[in-house]
Symmetry: C2
Subunit: 373 residues, 2 copies
């Protein structure tokens, strides 16, 4: 009979596109005894988690909570709740995740008007404006704030302002941006936003924080058609995550993962959100300087670079997989491969959350130096 | 400024409808350092997890894996992948979860033919056969093996045999049955089955093991319409969870929760699946004897009782909420309230996985004795 042993993972340093390194405090929180999902003590944790999510999203949106599944499900939750069959959504695509948004829009029975940009560049306001003019009946603009596949920051504030001028609601992918760069849900008038637990929050993967404006909530509550997903139907989920003392069972919440999310948010709150933004920026400068010294170049122009996700051009003649494998096997260091159109062309070095430290940068640079020698 | 403290949950004994008590070994596994979701070491864990799931499901189905979300998402995954718009599904409903299955079928654009039974009773084969005769174009029969809302076991083997006679595929809810009572996916010719991590596997909540027969997989791969959910589309997920060395990114797997699932499955394997079934049955007998001594009655007739979920009739004049609150606050003991039509009429005492021990039963009975005195 086959035997199975307890799984003991290596202690990697995670500097890829996520998951990022999880702090021991968060892992400790994760392992605390499980409570029932309707336990009054757990409800208190839910309330605090909502308050902390409002803090990191910079919003007072009542409908702010984590979806009980990874970021991809957060994306799907935003789209299937807000968008109805036949509606038009302008989708900005400049990497893998804009493409995923288009897929989700179409599977919701809606029409995606795709505005593209080169991989490695942001979506231009001009192209989005042209699409808005060409499609005055569009109801939404969706875009990725921080494109994890390319390392590009889209100008969320400007895109949202433009969308508002055309009376469109906005759907924003903040999976990699939340807590890593400036993001202001209320000030920028974002209507629906989703993120992931495993990026700049440095929590374990598996949860997707979301937030919806009152206008978005009103649309969700007055749909003509039911939400196609039962599991993601916010009209049902609010009975569990909504306000008030009484919580109705919808699905069994991932209790222990929520302990971890609460702790990771608490740590961001303790550091201060703006301090976290500044730390990511400062660590990026340090990494960039070191990479330059190694003769390595970043793919993205300075004004659109994400500090937390650095796409490094693989020099001619260097074996992509060999370098990543040596880093993993000799140094227990994970950096990311290129994705989609950038496969084989870039490495993705993440500086996210708990992993964005001088110690990790020194380690990453010296390991790279050895392997590239 | 508001302060937030690390969350320290009470150490409850969980004897409700799930989550069940999680063993320290599983909590330890959960808290191990996070690996990347494409790390070769993590891929090994995925392969072992698949093998262990095949073991507990008693199947050789290649498409056997955990969905990265709770049992409700596993239900939705089965339905939105298998069932196409306009198709007919016979749904057996004798509690909350059959009703949820009907909801999912309808949201997938299909037609649910509902066969009902009284809450507390199993679905009769006669009523299912009548529906099969009345709807010869039905393509699926869906039912709940272990109805968590009522404590009733449906005769999965007989229902599947009947469905096969009528050339229907079967969709089985095994959220509460897996590892708690006899369940044989291959022998019983089940086509699609989903479970939950937090019941008789005694893992943390948040994952949904699923398995699909080759016939079901063939249907999924030859759909006329795309699966409406991107996140749950098995045609995409198999690129990550499928066979072979190369794994393509679909979504970021909930890495740490999968450590825990692996460990909980390993513990079932170590005990032996049949031994686990027998332990649940023996613990149920012990609990039943003790409840009888306290003058309490079970709702469900002996031949349909679930050992792992005991619905206890609340005696006249006893304050439901007061009893449960006292158990929680004075004894740190969680038992479940009634759900839906049984709210206020029953308590639900779970004996699931790691929680199904003589120690817990003694504790539960003596606590109940004190509170009911």
């Amino acid at each position: 009979m086959r035997t199975f042993n307890t799984f003991i993972p290596n202690n990697r340093t995670l500097m890829g596109p996520g998951p990022s390194d999880v702090s021991p405090q968060v892992l400790n929180a994760l392992a605390r005894p499980t409570l029932g999902h309707l336990d009054p003590q757990f409800i208190e944790l839910m309330d605090e988690t909502k308050a902390l999510l409002q803090y990191v999203f910079k919003t007072e949106n009542q409908l702010t909570m984590p979806i009980s599944a990874p970021g991809s499900a957060g994306m799907e939750a935003c789209i299937v709740n807000l968008v109805e069959p036949g509606e038009k959504v302008i989708v900005c695509q400049n990497g893998v995740f804009g493409g995923r948004m288009k897929e989700n829009v179409e599977r919701a029975g809606a029409e995606a008007i795709v505005v593209t940009a080169q991989w490695g560049e942001p979506n231009s306001l001009e192209s989005i404006e042209a699409a808005l003019h060409a499609h005055p009946d569009a109801k939404f603009v969706g875009f990725v704030h921080a494109e994890t596949s390319t390392g590009v920051r889209n100008d969320a504030q400007a895109i949202c302002a433009l969308a508002k001028q055309h009376d469109c609601m906005t759907i924003v992918d903040a999976v990699t941006s939340l807590a890593g760069i400036e993001l202001r849900v209320d000030d920028w008038q974002i209507d629906a936003i989703y993120s992931g637990s495993q990026k700049c929050l440095s929590c374990v993967p598996g949860l997707s924080p979301v937030s919806f404006s009152d206008k978005a909530l009103h649309k969700i509550q007055h749909r003509k058609t039911p939400v196609q997903s039962w599991f993601l139907d916010l009209n049902l989920i609010v009975g569990y995550w909504g306000q008030g003392g009484k919580r109705a069972y919808h699905h069994t919440a991932p209790v222990n993962s929520l302990y971890a999310l609460h702790e990771s948010l608490r740590l961001v709150h303790e550091e201060g959100l703006e301090n976290s933004w500044h730390r990511h920026a400062a660590m990026h400068e340090l990494l960039k300087t070191g990479l330059t010294e190694l003769g390595l170049e970043l793919l993205v122009a300075p004004e659109s670079r994400l500090p937390q996700l650095n796409t490094v051009v693989i020099p001619d003649g260097v074996d992509d997989a060999l370098v990543r494998n040596r880093l993993l096997n000799e140094f227990n260091l994970e950096i990311g491969a290129g994705l989609g159109a950038l496969a084989g062309k870039v490495w993705r070095i993440g500086l996210m959350g708990h992993a964005a430290t001088t110690k990790n940068i020194d380690f990453c640079l010296s390991s790279l130096r050895t392997v590239l020698r």
